[in-house]
Every structure is written in C-alpha cells, then in structure tokens.
C-alpha cells in the first residue's frame, strides 16, 4: 500500500516548525520532500537597514543555540574588510566561548536524540551535564542564550575565573568518557535504533555539500578549525573526529568524541591564554569592498559574506548556515528507511530550523 504521510509543520518530536512529506510503501519510506521557511525572518534584508554595530545584536538572534558563532563570524568578516587586528587574549577568549557553545550544543543534541529514542534516563543525564556548561556560560557572559561576547576587534568581557572553567571541562570530559560514550556505543537499545540507520554515503555528503559532524560521520575529514584556522586555533592541538559508517550511530559517535576534544581545546586555551587587552571597538568605520569569514560551528561551517559601500550600513550580508546545507541530505538518508526511524534520522543531522530559515 502506497501513501504519503505529512509530518509537521510543527514537528512533534523535535518541537520546531518544519514539514516533511514521506512517500511510503507499507512501513518503508521511498522518498521525502522537505519544506522549510516557517521561521523566516528576513534577517539578511533587515541587516541592510541597520548599522554595523546594531547588526551584531541582530545576528546574535539568528540561532538560539549557536548565537555566539554568528556574531563571531560577522565580526571576523568586518575585521577582514577593515583590516582590524584582534588582540591575542581576545582570540583565546573567542576560542573558549566557541568551544563552550559547542559543548552545550552537542550535549543538548545527545539529550534530544536519547529522548527521541525513548531513552529518558539518558536524556536526563545529558541535560544534567549540559546545565554545568550553561552555568559557566552564564558566569562568563551574564546570559544563558545570547552571550553578547563578540564585538568588532575583540570581545566585550574578559574571562577571569579560569579554575571554574577548567574544573567543569574536566568533569564533563570524565562523565562523557565514562558514561555517555559507553552507553551510546554499546547499549542494545541505542545500537538497535542507530546502527545502519539513515546512511549518508561519503560521495553524497561531498556532492550535497554536507558539513560538520554530518559530513565527518560520512568520512569527510573537513573541519574549518584545522583547514582554515581562525582566532587562536592554530596554536592549539586537536584532531578532527571522523567516522566512516555514515549512519545515525556514526553521527552520535562523532559528536560524543567532539565533546571530549572540545574539553581538551578549552583546557589548552585556558593554559595558553596570554595576559593583555581583549577589548574591541564599539564603533567601526568599514571601507567599501567585500569580505567573507567562516568558522566551524557545532553543526558545521558558518559562512558570512559582507559587501560595503563605505556607509555605516552593509550593502549586503549573506548568512550561510550549516543546517541549510545539511537538511537536503535528509532526503537521501530517508530512502528505504523504516517509518519508525524517520524522526531519529531527521534529528541526526542536529537540524536548526531557526538557522536554516533565518
């Protein structure tokens, strides 16, 4: 029996606006059509009507999970355009906050995946761990969501309580290594739900421009932190986490191991962070021209293009988010999957609808 099953536009499991229509034969999904745009706010158009400083607050609101990466990429693009040097201490602070954001994003996703699998105790464990990261982010920035850490040419706040961050990362590293990774890689329920499910081949990942953990779980060893280093990443030692199976389990393993790697990056950055100034400029003169910047966000590469005519407002800002590139690959993952696996496959790319729609 063939039929089309519409899911959305409010997704019951992910609890975000998104629609997917599944063409099924019995319990098997033969094809899928994805509809986005329910969160569209025309942020790129709004940016043309605000000055460069006002736009920092605007871009902070592209995403509620990775708000910091958007302001960081935007500020870096302006710094490229205006040839502004960022103090070294600020570069390390940018790394630390970006990695703290990756920690909470990946742990949040692990919890959401556990919830969709019906593994509620694992969901609670993840959110307990994530709260430790959120407490640190709140202590550093004063906020739990929009941290307002970045400004053009530096950061808005220093990091002073180094011991608290170091202790937290060590506790997260231990908990993830001893609890989460063994459960996510050996538990029968997790393996039954995730191994061999929702496969994205390496060839398809490259052709469709998949990014971040979604691409790395399919054997594509790309990581902007290593390939095109920014901030202080060139001074820190880390390895991109790559798996080759391309299934939901591989995407889980990549993110779990990246949590551990992020803890180590933060610990190195805290140790190597030099004294000195960290402040940027509240107002900036941007010459005419164009520039781009990109960083490795929790979900993959974020890319900003800015064109300036020399006025105080940008002539064009383009925001290319990783979920925008990863989401079309869901169609490939869905083909010939069982209907019961559809929600988890969709969730396995860690989709952000707010980022995608902008």
């Amino acid at each position: 029996m063939s039929y089309t099953l519409p899911i959305g536009p409010y997704h019951p499991a992910l609890e975000e606006p998104y629609k997917i229509e599944l063409d099924c034969e019995g319990e098997i999904v033969r094809d899928a059509r994805i509809q986005i745009g329910f969160n569209f706010r025309a942020i790129e158009l709004l940016a043309e009507q605000r000055n460069y400083t006002q736009n920092i607050a605007l871009f902070e609101r592209v995403c509620g999970i990775c708000s910091n990466v958007h302001t960081l990429t935007y500020c870096m693009a302006i710094e490229h355009l205006a040839a502004i040097e960022v103090p070294r201490r600020a570069q390390f602070i940018r790394v630390i906050v970006a990695e703290l954001e990756r920690l909470h994003s990946h742990i949040l996703w692990a919890g959401a995946a556990a919830h969709i699998m019906g593994f509620q105790t694992l969901f609670m464990t993840c959110f307990y761990l994530r709260e430790k990261v959120m407490d640190i982010l709140e202590a550093v920035s004063g906020n739990r969501v929009n941290y307002a850490m970045n400004c053009v040419g530096g950061v808005n706040r220093d990091i002073e309580d180094i011991a608290a961050i170091r202790d937290m990362t060590k506790s997260i590293e231990t908990a993830v290594s001893e609890q989460l990774i063994p459960i996510f890689t050996k538990d029968k329920t997790v393996l039954a739900r995730c191994a061999g499910v929702g496969i994205l081949t390496r060839q398809d990942a490259i052709a469709w421009g998949a990014l971040g953990p979604t691409a790395r779980a399919s054997g594509v060893a790309q990581d902007i932190r290593r390939d095109d280093p920014y901030a202080a990443y060139s001074e820190l030692e880390f390895e991109p986490i790559v798996q080759t199976d391309g299934d939901v389990l591989a995407r889980i393993v990549v993110r779990a191991l990246e949590i551990v790697e992020s803890c180590r990056i933060i610990q190195q950055a805290l140790e190597k962070m030099p004294p000195g100034t960290w402040k940027g400029s509240p107002f900036v003169e941007v010459p005419s021209g164009e520039a781009v910047a990109r960083i490795e966000a929790p979900r993959g590469e974020v890319f900003y293009y800015i064109a300036s005519d020399g006025s105080d407002k940008p002539r064009r800002v383009k925001v290319r988010t990783p979920s925008f590139m990863n989401m079309p690959t869901v169609r490939l993952m869905m083909k010939n999957a069982t209907l019961a696996d559809a929600p988890l496959i969709q969730a396995s790319i860690d989709p952000c609808y707010s980022c995608t729609d902008r």
């Binding site: 986005i36 745009g37 569209f40 025309a42 790129e44 158009l45 693009a77 490229h80 490259i206 052709a207 469709w208 421009g209 790309q222 902007i224 290593r226 390939d227 095109d228 520039a291 781009v292 910047a293 990109r294 590469e301 890319f303 293009y305 064109a307 002539r315 064009r316 383009k318 290319r320 925008f324 590139m325 989401m327 079309p328 729609d357």
Partner: protein, 139 residues
C-alpha cells in the same frame, strides 16, 4: 591549487587577487557550468552562491568554492536577470538557487522546476527586491 590553471581552464583573463579571506576574481560572460564541472571534478566544495543587486538592474553572482581550506571567490553578472543553473552538476546548489530565486526572482536557466524554498507556493518571487520594483512578472 594552481590559480593560473583555474584561469586557463575557465577562460578568465584577469588574475586572482589574493586576500586574507581567499582568492577573488570577476569574469564577464563566465561559463558557470564549466566552472562548476571544473571545481567539482577537482574535489572542491561549493560553499554558497551570493546574489547582489547591481546599479544597472542586474545581479552580481558570487560563487564561493572551498578547496581544502582555501576559498576561491569567482563572480559574474546575470544577463536580463538570468543565469545558467549549476544544480545538475553540483547538487549542493539546489537549495541555494531556489533561495536566490525566492529573494531576487533570478531565473536559473536549465532547471526544469524551481519551486519556492523559503516562500510559500503561489507567493511571487523577489521578496528582497521590492525596492527595485522588480518581480519575475515584470521582466
């Protein structure tokens, strides 16, 4: 990546300009399908395409390609609001072209269908271009 080879293969006369954020070039009458074939065959990844309105009512189309950490930025202009689609050669361009069509009503030649991505079915394309009073129906 040898940028002189890229110029030679794509028939671009002007040299690439090296900047902190990559290698930039502009080419009039660029064969974008040839460009897409060259970059995909050489393992490059399409980062995105950026459309930007120009003074003469056309659009500058910036193609950003990642080549193992180095970005090549190549731009060309639309002609009568049109440019050739590269989605068949480079699937990563599929949603990108649909979004650009939604925002600026640029037509991508060679695509059999260009359904709205961000807009809803039946909405007129060109949402970002209402300042220029240009919609697809007015071309």
């Amino acid at each position: 990546m040898d940028f002189d080879l890229i110029r030679e293969k794509l028939g671009i006369t002007s040299p690439f300009i090296e900047r902190k954020d990559g290698y930039w070039n502009h080419a009039n009458n660029l064969d974008v399908r040839q460009m897409a074939s060259f970059f995909t065959e050489n393992g490059a990844r399409l980062i995105t395409i950026v459309a930007q309105p120009t003074q003469n009512g056309e659009f500058r189309m910036h193609y950003h390609w990642d080549m193992n950490g180095v970005i090549a930025h190549i731009s060309t202009d639309t002609q009568a609001g049109e440019i050739v689609s590269i989605a068949e050669i480079c699937p990563a361009a599929n949603w990108i072209e649909r979004e650009i069509h939604d925002y600026y009503a640029i037509h991508f030649r060679g695509r059999e269908d260009l359904p709205p991505l961000i807009l809803r079915s039946g909405d007129p394309p060109g949402l970002f271009y209402w300042n220029g009073k240009k919609t697809e129906g007015e071309k």
